[in-house]
């Protein structure tokens, strides 16, 4: 009853147009800020969530840019150390090359082949192939090999059709023993090679580290050679910092994996712009709201005065005035959350068709952000009302 009477006395309709404008401003500001939060959350989810990562994403093979001026483009000890120190690089694994001549040939006449080749090795933790056969015991003449998937593709789709040879499956290649001849002081030393896996990550012929270390010592013909390539593990191959660092240090890597950083920069810019615009609009909306409250109180100054005179307490009046503004604010907040939730649902459906997975629900961060904005609104309303009621009392 008191509420209805007060409503009749303190007419809040004095500036309806302004109130609606403040409401619209607040809505847009809220939508911008909340979508900025939600986009950020979605993007982080896309970047870091397990379901969105494949095995190659976090490992990059880094090499010096080959510019044709140097005979060798190798990474110095300092350069490797510097790489290790970068915050966006978690681990660095050196690719060690073989320092002896080796050839491979087929033992069978059905798949005749012969090739000169090379080996490289890298610490096991950088290899994307898990196999029980990936080990070498000293003294053993069987050498496990990991070859790039691309080799098999080149053979199956390029070489085999042109030579009228049979296409091979992975298991066929793995079943095929390969004769390896290591040249040692002019004499061939014979080993048997066995492919135990195919790597998508490192495009080289890999042998176990302990074998290569021993073989380099035993058969090596050249001096110490610096690695020309390293494998790095990073938590975020799309990090623009990483791309910047590589470029600045004349290093290259698989561009496909770092291309994400380009998108990331764009998303960051969009998110920041949204943030900024939203924050500025929120500021204006708050200003208009508080002006509207001032106007309401000023235009009913006499009524408020009389109310206080007959015994209405400032608290009662504040409570009443808060009730005039807070429901609108709450409705706007909830409506904005709803809109963002619907957009998120649509986005989820759209992205999942492209094999990108984000949650179909809005994130807690977004809800918390909305609550925070509501608290700020409440505070601004409350302090404005308190201040002007107090002034009216005088």
């Amino acid at each position: 009853m008191l509420h209805q009477l007060l409503k009749k006395i303190i007419r809040t309709g004095v500036g309806k147009g302004r109130f609606v404008m403040a409401g619209i401003g607040l809505t847009i500001a809220m939508l911008l800020i909340l979508s900025a939060v939600q986009i950020q959350v979605n993007y982080n989810e896309l970047l870091y969530a397990k379901s969105n990562q494949d095995s190659i994403a976090n490992f990059l093979v880094v090499a010096k840019v080959i510019n044709g001026n140097n005979r060798e483009n190798v990474l110095s000890v300092e350069e490797v150390e510097k790489l290790k120190r970068q915050p966006f690089i978690e681990k660095v694994g050196l690719l060690t090359a073989s320092r002896f001549k080796v050839s491979a040939q087929s033992p069978s006449d059905r798949f005749p082949f012969y090739t000169d080749m090379f080996f490289e090795s890298v610490p096991d933790e950088f290899i994307d192939v898990k196999s029980n056969d990936w080990k070498w015991e000293p003294g053993s003449t069987t050498i496990p090999l990991i070859i790039p998937n691309q080799f098999l593709d080149l053979y199956n789709f390029g070489f085999a059709p042109s030579q009228n040879l049979m296409q091979l499956t992975q298991s066929m290649v793995m079943a095929l023993p390969i004769v390896l001849n290591v040249s040692y002081q002019g004499q061939p030393v014979r080993f048997t090679g066995k492919v135990v896996g195919f790597s998508d990550r490192i495009s080289s012929v890999l042998v176990p580290q302990n074998f290569l270390a021993l073989a380099n010592k035993q058969f090596g013909t050249q001096g110490d050679v610096r690695p020309s390539r390293v494998v790095i593990r990073t938590n975020d191959p799309g990090n623009p910092e990483l791309v910047k660092y590589l470029k600045a240090n004349d290093l290259v890597t698989d561009a496909d994996k770092t291309r994400f950083s380009q998108y990331r920069r764009i998303v960051n810019t969009v998110v920041n712009a949204s943030w900024l615009t939203g924050a500025v609009m929120l500021l204006f909306a708050l200003l208009v709201f508080s002006l509207f409250i001032q106007l309401t109180i000023a235009s009913t100054k006499n009524e408020i005065n009389l109310l206080v005179t007959i015994g209405a307490s400032p608290t009662q009046l504040q409570r009443f005035l808060m009730k005039q503004f807070l429901p609108a604010n709450t409705v706007i907040t909830l409506a904005c959350l709803l809109v963002i939730a619907i957009l998120q649902y649509v986005l989820q459906a759209f992205l999942s068709k492209q094999n990108m997975y984000v949650s179909s629900w809005i994130d807690w961060y977004t809800v918390v952000a909305a609550a925070l904005i509501l608290v700020v609104l409440w505070l601004v309303n409350y302090t404005t009302i308190k201040k002007y009621i107090k002034e009216t009392e005088k």
């Binding site: 009853m1 009477l5 015994g311 009662q316």
Partner: protein
């Protein structure tokens, strides 16, 4: 509740009362709980000013007004509102109704500002006694002064109080209506064991006053 005035004098009247004596100004007096006090004075001697000082709508005075030994100047905000809701009711000379509210709404507002002292039906009962039942649903702004005065009287009586402050409360009423209003006020004050401070231009015998002062 006791009211004490210690050397109170309104700033605008200070010079005037530095030359002549007054029962109220520039002196120490006490209104004890339950006292029925009449203040008689000609125009321009500060009757309304006194009541406005007691009710704390005027601050331009020297000296000290104490409600139950508390300086009125130190009571403000929600505490002042509590005093006005629970302990002191008022009938202003200029009535001070909300013109856009109906007579009933004006009264109802003061009834529900605090935990109601009376049921809403009491409004009709009192209106019946004072003969304004027919205008209860009219806008106060269109009521005659006599009607507005009776609305103001009922408005003051629907709330709890220990003191009733009345500034020429019958100025727009004829003798018969004055009698009725005075009877209602006396009844309500007795019911609450409340005191009142009433100002008027002339002496009268409407109430059995316990103290009469001249300004």
């Amino acid at each position: 509740m006791q009211i004490q005035l210690q050397q109170v004098v309104p700033v605008p009247l200070k010079e005037k009362f530095s030359q002549r004596r007054s029962d109220i100004w520039n002196t120490n007096i006490t209104f004890d709980a339950g006292d029925w006090i009449k203040i008689v004075a000609p125009s321009g001697t500060g009757k309304t000013t006194l009541l406005n000082i007691l009710y704390k709508v005027r601050h331009d005075y020297e000296g000290e007004v104490q409600w139950d030994n508390r300086d009125l100047k130190n009571i403000s905000g929600d505490h002042l509102a509590k005093l006005r809701q629970q302990h002191v009711s008022v009938i202003f000379q200029d009535l001070r109704l909300f013109e856009n509210l109906t007579a009933r709404e004006n009264i109802e507002l003061n009834r529900v500002l605090q935990q109601p002292f009376y049921e809403a039906a009491m409004i009709d009962e009192m209106a019946g006694l004072l003969g304004i039942t027919h205008i209860l649903n009219q806008r106060a702004g269109v009521c005659s002064y006599g009607e507005q005065q009776r609305i103001a009287i009922i408005r003051a009586l629907v709330q709890p109080f220990e003191w009733l402050i009345m500034d020429e409360p019958f100025s727009h009423l004829d003798i018969a209506n004055t009698r009725k209003a005075a009877d209602l006020i006396a009844m309500e004050c007795k019911k609450r064991k409340a005191g009142f401070v009433l100002t008027d231009l002339d002496e009268d015998s409407l109430f059995p006053y316990t103290q009469v002062f001249s300004l």
